[in-house]
């Protein structure tokens, strides 16, 4: 199971992005500044956008899902309950997890952006996909929800999960780090080795590395462990 980007280039009106690399099974974190091309790359990986040049090859992937930054796009159900059903999942468990069980007859569009994102991610993460692309999964979420989503992502043991984010506070356990810088996608390698080369690393990680305390991973508990290491 893998997604291979072979000399992929995307360009439009004075902006371009080039990408080369192989996404294998595991959790991949792709970071980059706003406007660097994270969403474009997410769509390219999923085959929802053809590249200007080069090829995107998906091998052994029979199911895929892309979670857009704005959860409204995914809404097809008239009620929150129907929305869960439209994802092919049992609403009871998901609505309990998303803390929305008592509002299941409401329209999803009556929820706040944060609540809708919570519901959407609960639905997406309730199923297993060979390729799961999450575009800014932490936007609109409070710290507690980010933590919950990070735990759910960290529990994924099969398939390829690609997280596109500019988040600097909360991260799930990740296997590989990539980043988009100066119009190109860079593979920084596997964690923890990738952390030293990670340009978009949060300040706390940079400071820990500067003190010679390289964390095992980038979850809050890993960072705490590294900070307390003597």
């Amino acid at each position: 199971m893998r997604v291979e980007l072979d000399d992929v280039c995307m360009s439009r009106e004075g902006w371009s992005l080039s990408a080369q690399g192989i996404f294998t099974e595991g959790i991949h974190l792709v970071s980059g500044d706003t406007g660097s091309g994270k969403t474009t790359l997410a769509l390219l990986l999923a085959g929802l956008l053809p590249p200007s040049s080069g090829t995107v090859c998906r091998e052994g992937i029979s199911s895929l899902m892309v979670s857009f930054q704005f959860p409204e796009y995914h809404v097809t159900g008239a009620t929150i309950r129907d929305e869960c059903i439209s994802w092919g999942i049992d609403p009871t468990g998901v609505l309990t997890a998303a803390n929305l069980r008592d509002r299941q007859d409401l329209s999803p569009l009556k929820l706040s952006r944060g609540e809708l994102k919570r519901l959407h991610l609960a639905c997406v993460l309730a199923r297993d996909y060979d390729l799961l692309v999450l575009d800014e999964p932490f936007s609109s979420l409070d710290c507690r929800e980010k933590e919950r989503v990070c735990s759910a992502i960290s529990r994924r043991t099969t398939g390829i999960t690609v997280i596109f984010t500019h988040e600097q506070m909360q991260f799930p356990r990740v296997d590989y780090i990539w980043e988009i810088a100066r119009g190109s996608l860079h593979n920084r390698g596997s964690v923890p080795g990738a952390l030293e080369a990670w340009e978009h690393a949060p300040d706390i990680i940079k400071k820990l590395i500067a003190r010679g305390k390289v964390p095992e991973n980038i979850t809050p508990s890993d960072l705490l462990e590294a900070a307390c290491r003597t």
């Binding site: 892309v66 857009f68 704005f70 409204e72 995914h74 809404v75 097809t76 159900g77 994802w87 569009l109």
Partner: protein, 217 residues
């Protein structure tokens, strides 16, 4: 065409010409072929097909009820082509400059700003609709007539929410009415030529052609 004033004037002249008569519509279509005709651009606009279908439907109804459905279809199609040309050529901020130039810094500014905001909303609606179709496909739902209602809810809800946020932001920033702007326009010779050609099209539409061609009568 770079000058929004001439572009809008040309579009108005051509739409009137197309609406008046079939010769006017044919002349407007020829104008479109010469000065604007980009079939690839038309194909790219996703709204084209449903609008053509809608016009075709009304033309058939008109024909069945004794009207000239074919004439209506031809004239409306040319008007739609001109409309799409105007839509694809439009650049952000143009209507604001045009409004201020035409009607001044109070009513002109307001109307121009509303027109610009409407165009921006239209662009966003097209983008949102595209994203919704992708999301539906990912869920295993094939976009079609049945999915138009939920998609419509999302689009209307999003547009209203954006409008509310914009209104709040403008109020917070102290916007009351009108504004100051010094509109500047670039007017290439080709723009003047195109507009004059559009004027000729209108004259052609207004002149009873049969008066000149005895054999035609």
């Amino acid at each position: 065409m770079q000058d929004v004033r001439l572009r809008t004037a040309a579009a108005v002249l051509l739409c009137i010409s197309a609406f008046i008569s079939i010769p006017g519509a044919v002349a407007a279509f020829l104008w479109w072929l010469v000065f604007a005709g980009r079939f690839t651009q038309v194909k790219q606009v996703r709204m084209m097909l449903p609008i053509v279908a809608m016009v075709a439907f009304f033309s058939i109804v008109l024909a069945l009820t004794g009207g000239d459905g074919a004439s209506y279809f031809i004239r409306m199609m040319v008007i739609i082509l001109i409309g799409f040309w105007l839509y694809t050529e439009q650049k952000s901020g143009e209507f604001l400059r045009f409004g201020v130039w035409l009607l001044g810094e109070r009513a002109g500014f307001e109307l121009g700003m509303i027109a610009d905001m409407s165009m921006q909303t239209l662009h966003l609606l097209v983008r949102d609709f595209h994203q919704i179709c992708i999301a539906e496909t990912l869920k295993g739902i094939h976009p079609g007539w049945k999915t138009l209602v939920p998609a419509g809810f999302v689009l209307v809800n999003g547009a209203l929410s954006r409008a509310e946020s914009t209104a709040e932001l403008m109020a917070v920033r102290g916007y009351h009415d009108g504004g100051s702007l010094c509109p500047e326009f670039i007017t290439p010779r080709m723009d003047i030529l195109s507009t004059l050609a559009a004027l000729c099209v209108l004259i052609l539409a207004l002149i009873p052609v049969s008066e000149f061609f005895i054999l035609y009568r």
